[in-house]
Amino acid sequence: MAESQKKFSDQAIISVRGIHKAFGLNNVLKGIDLNVNSGEVVALIGGNGAGKSTLMKIIMGIHQPDRGEIYVDGEKVNLTKPSVALSKGIYMIPQEPMLFPNMTVEENIIAGFREKAADLHVRLVNQMKEIGWDLDLNRKANSLSIAEQTLVEILRGLLRNSRVLIFDEPTSALTFDEVESLFKCIATLKARGIGIIYITHRLTEVFDIATHVAIMCDGVITLNGPVGDFTREMLVKGLLPPNMAEQNEKRQTAERAELDYQKLKPVFELKSFSGYGFSNINLEIYPGEILGVAGVVGAGRTELATTIFGMDKVLGGSAILDGRDITGLPTKKVLEAGINYVPEDRHLLGLFKISDIAANTTSAMLSDSSMGKMFLNGKAEYELTRKYVDDFRIKITGQDQLTGSLSGGNQQKIVIARALSTQPKLIILDEPTRGIDAAARGDVYTIIHQLKEQGVAIMLISSDIEEIIELADRAVAVYQGHINLEFNKKEINQDNLMAAAFGVTGGRKAEV
């Protein structure tokens, strides 16, 4: 192993060895080894929270590793800040392009260079000719589409003669056609001998463009090698935490009782529901049912959820909860009517990090009279919080602990507790297990099952196909803002869902 590693890195443009990194008590990276050679595209896959972004930030010199070394062309380097990494020929195209919105495309690309602007312009034009792109250099960056912004970022990297390009989930915000043109570009770069690290969570992409693949799980690389050595099933298995497979089997045998749809009346219905990012959605959800909503990031699933929740404008159709029309009500009224939502981004939309746990769990209940009329009922708050802390096995030192200091899994449980505190008839879970560890994931699944037993309707939005397979009674796939296909319990499997989520089936051309 050690020998092959060494041989491997002899020709590597960049090689990281034994990288460790912790933020506070949270060990993010636990010894990472990775090599990228000239002309290779190394696909780095793994769930959110696996540590991919942290690793890349270390390579870019934004964070410093606690332990471990980085070699460029076999020479040990000390990447203390981004400018050092840039001078070594490393460039990262961040997930959200970091352009200067008020500058033109050209100003954006040449910012930070030492050369003369005129020389740079010539080089830039030549570069664009060479890879065959056409982009108006005088447009302001804030008028560019996300795909165009990504192109600008790539040009930035190329103009710096970068030899290692890092793409951080570049397709997450792109439309189908934009993805295609991006892949063409990557192929060109590969042919020019540039080493590429390609971070993604979409397995199909790996087989499309990667030469090598590395899987990261919980801060370690669990699988690594040429892409030809692997099948998709092997990658899927590699992505699952080790004890997940067992848990899956246990639970799958435990509950398989199919819902008797004949006897049930839907608790929630969408009729030709349209909004920004989706249109003409027809759905119904039954009490005690888990409806899986599959689809890639950017398909319009989150927009659908936030629009139901009163955060965005309804453009057409209606939403009916328990026979009551709740279309276009403000969030507060939707909450009171009996819907709650666990947002996809818990840091941005879910948590009050510098507030204590009790303040978090009761935040959605402040309008409720059980929390007191004008003065806050401390006892009710304490009891409510204690109930969820006990039920969900949330590990805390006390109710006055700040939520920001909890682990990701416990934070997510608190966001779920907040959503449940209002006793909703329908709960929308948007990526409920993103970025949390295996044990917490198991706990969240248990909570979902308990809710189901209590007769709560659950809308489960997830990019994790495995999750939908395991939990859902019924599933729909959203593709480009529409419901592509619907599957009953028996039809839910990886191939069906994946194909529908990527628009392969359901009246769309195939992606592969």
Partner: protein, 346 residues
């Protein structure tokens, strides 16, 4: 909630409020030792008039800063209300208390206007209240022009009942302003720390978007805090007018630095989400006593007093910033009072 009394005590001793209390105590010891006149209740409590405005306003500017905003217009509103009281009473011929009510309503509207622009138009609070400062001080000047009295003289000769606000002394010692301040501190404390509204103020300050997702009307909450600070400025304006027996349009012009200093010194996070009324009240007293004690006991010219206040602010925020730096924290671990590390964590 289920902490033992000993634990609560331990935590209390480590808190920032306790540190402020110690500083206050220290001021008393030093000033008292230097000049025994300082400890004379009549002199000490008589000094309250110079600091009461800062104390009252900073209590409620705390609310604004907890939502992540800032209010640099409160000083202008003090002058605005003062001149309204004077003009409405003298030239409008209304009852003095009706004049006060009108002044409070006007101040609330001023706060609501600025709050509206901050909350509903997403304009930076700094700019809005900067513009508000110009606007309300300008309006105050125009109101003063309505009066028959020359504006630089100010309107005076208020009825005794009105002057009693600053003349009355409970048990012959405690001035009414102290009682007003104490009552307002209790009200602000209950409102911020014990009511559902106060909880919303905190949540909006920590994460306005998450608050929206919890069904809280973030914008309304933000706007309401500016109304509160406007009203508090009006109360300060009325008390000050009563004390000076003069209504003038510019009597609050120099308050801004002291108000913000009191709030920040009191432990409120300038980025919002954390803060404490008791801390602000203590900090306002620390500043007030400093401004009173230095000239009395050390013969320091009152004109120099911006230096200690500015220094105090700089020292506190620099120390907090250093305490937030992970390297320094590791080094200082256990040395700093706990409250510091907590507030500096973000």
């Amino acid at each position: 909630m289920k902490n033992s009394p000993l634990e609560s005590l331990k935590r209390g001793v480590k808190s920032w409020e306790f540190a402020l209390l110690m500083i206050l105590f220290l001021e008393f010891v030093i000033f008292g030792a230097k000049n025994s006149k300082f400890l004379n209740p009549n002199i000490l409590l008589g000094s309250v008039n110079d600091i009461i405005s800062i104390c009252i306003i900073s209590l409620f500017v705390t609310f604004v800063m907890i939502t992540g905003g800032i209010d640099i217009q409160a000083g202008a509103i003090v002058g605005f209300t003062s001149i309204i009281v004077g003009v409405v009473w003298q030239d409008g011929g209304l009852n003095i208390w009706a004049a006060c009510l009108i002044a409070v309503i006007a101040a609330a509207l001023c706060g609501a206007l600025s709050g509206f622009f901050v909350a509903y138009c997403n304009v930076q609070p700094m700019v809005v209240t900067l513009g508000g400062g110009f606007l309300y001080s300008g309006l105050a000047l125009l109101v003063a022009k309505l009066s028959a009295t020359e504006s630089y003289k100010g309107i005076s000769g208020f009825p005794d009942s009105f002057r009693q606000i600053s003349q009355f002394k409970l048990f012959g010692v405690i001035p009414e302003q102290v009682i007003i301040f104490a009552v307002l501190t209790v009200i602000a404390y209950l409102l911020l720390h014990k009511t559902k509204y106060g909880r919303k103020v905190f949540l909006v300050g920590v994460n306005p978007r998450a608050a929206e997702y919890s069904g809280i009307n973030s914008r309304l909450v933000i706007m309401s805090t500016y109304v509160l600070s406007g009203i508090s400025a009006a109360i300060a304006g009325i008390v000050l007018t009563s004390y000076l027996d003069t209504a003038k349009s510019d009597i609050g012009a120099t308050f801004t630095l002291q108000i913000i200093t009191a709030v920040v010194l009191g432990g409120t996070l300038s980025t919002g989400g954390k803060g404490n009324v008791i801390g602000t009240a203590l900090a306002a007293l620390v500043i007030g006593i400093l401004r009173f004690g230095l000239p009395l006991c050390f013969k320091i010219n009152t004109q120099y007093l911006d230096i200690p206040v500015g220094l105090l602010l700089l020292i506190v925020i620099t120390a907090r910033s250093l305490a937030g730096n992970s390297k320094v924290v590791r080094f200082m671990n256990g040395v700093m009072p706990r409250g510091w590390g907590k507030t500096a964590a973000h």
